[in-house]
């Protein structure tokens, strides 16, 4: 059984500090560890995030779906061995399950990328395939902007790209990204800062 991760919350005037679990997924994880059928709640919660990460990395829907599938099947198979490691310093709402899941996703994506290198790569221009019958003009402007942002991200190298995707698309904290990428928090901050400078230069001459 996972080791509890607790922190003090609440004000003294409310009867003294109480203890709360740090990992927002803890109950879901424990339920799924007791009964694998209840893994579905975690699957539904993180499907889009894992798929987004995979799609930005692999730039192909089928490849992203494949990596997503491998990630969740591997997570379900390994869930009994997952151990909660959230610490008070991780902050409220920290989820080590999410970090663990994205570590699996990162490996699944790396495996798909190795396969991709053996054949021609399809460019990620997803944001150009947009159609909204409601407001074509505004839609076109928005889609140009989205395309530019996606393109700027996709041109970044390795962990810089991953760090920005995890920060902006999956909205992870620096601490979580450090866990996924296997780097220190300081290193992730520098990665993101440098990546943003590169993106700024890339977007400089493009429409907003």
């Amino acid at each position: 059984m996972a080791r509890p991760a607790l922190r003090k919350v609440g004000r003294p005037e409310e009867g003294g500090p109480r203890l709360a679990h740090l990992d927002r997924d803890r109950r879901l994880v424990e339920a799924a560890q007791a009964d694998p059928a209840r893994f579905e709640a975690l699957y539904r919660k993180y499907l889009a995030q894992v798929y987004s990460f995979a799609y930005y990395e692999l730039r192909d829907h089928h490849e992203a779906e494949d990596a997503t599938e491998r990630t969740f099947l591997a997570a379900l198979a390994g869930l009994a061995r997952f151990e909660e490691r959230a610490r008070p310093a991780d902050g409220e709402g920290a989820s080590t399950f999410r970090v663990w899941l994205f570590q699996i996703a990162r490996n699944a994506i790396a495996e798909r990328r190795r396969r991709q290198r053996r054949r021609p790569e399809a460019p990620l221009e997803a944001a150009e395939h947009v159609a909204d019958p409601l407001d074509l003009e505004a839609t076109a402007v928005r889609h140009d902007a989205a395309t530019a942002a996606v393109r700027a991200i996709s041109r970044l190298a390795g962990d810089r790209r991953r760090a920005l995707i995890l920060r902006f698309v999956d909205e992870m904290t620096t601490h979580e990204i450090a866990g996924v990428l296997g780097r220190s928090e300081g290193a992730v901050r520098v990665l993101i800062h440098r990546a943003l400078r590169t993106v700024a230069r890339e977007l400089d001459d493009q429409p907003q």
Partner: protein, 177 residues
């Protein structure tokens, strides 16, 4: 940039700039998550204007993605089957983590939003999505996402009658029989 606050003293300039950018990002993404304006940040805690502009654009414009609904349900089904296989050894007193999982399934077609769904959902103004959303290969607009609308409507039409729940009931029935 000068190192004012105690937490950034003793760091080199790149680390300080990175820390300032990190704090700024934290504020702007938290505000985005709340759907509110960002709380004011003192000018000496701002990253340089280029970085600020890049942060603003990425936070606003990077699409979030969702796989096709067909894929979502197909994978839910595979997980349900895998979970059922894992539960059998558990019920028999085993450790339950020795299942061999079939990882690769058949290729799944990208989901198509049917025309009926489009027509029914075009006028649904509750379904406002703040950033572009991509579903199974079709990016939708930021303001009103048809795909997002279809997704939410689909969810409404399919409340918690989950494949996992059905699987649990099926296994229970099998055991009782």
């Amino acid at each position: 940039m000068t190192a004012g606050p105690p937490e950034i003293r003793g760091r080199d300039s790149l680390e300080i700039d990175a820390l300032v950018t990190d704090r700024y990002l934290e504020s702007i993404l938290a505000a985005h998550a709340r759907g509110a304006d960002m709380a004011p940040i003192p000018a000496d805690r701002h990253p340089d204007p280029d970085v600020r502009q890049a942060v603003a654009r990425l936070a606003r414009e990077l699409p979030r993605l969702h796989p096709s609904f067909r894929f979502e349900e197909a994978l839910a089904g595979k997980l349900q089957e895998a979970a059922a296989r894992m539960r059998l050894p558990l019920a028999a007193g085993g450790e339950g983590d020795a299942s061999v999982l079939a990882v690769r399934g058949p290729d799944l077609p990208i989901a198509a939003i049917d025309e009926g769904d489009r027509i029914r959902l075009l006028g649904d103004t509750r379904l406002v999505i703040g950033r572009p959303l991509l579903v199974g290969g079709a990016v939708t607009s930021a303001a009103l996402s048809i795909a997002g609308a279809v997704y939410v409507a689909w969810r409404i039409r399919h409340p918690q009658a989950s494949p996992m729940a059905r699987a649990i009931r099926a296994v229970a029935r099998t055991r009782l029989a």
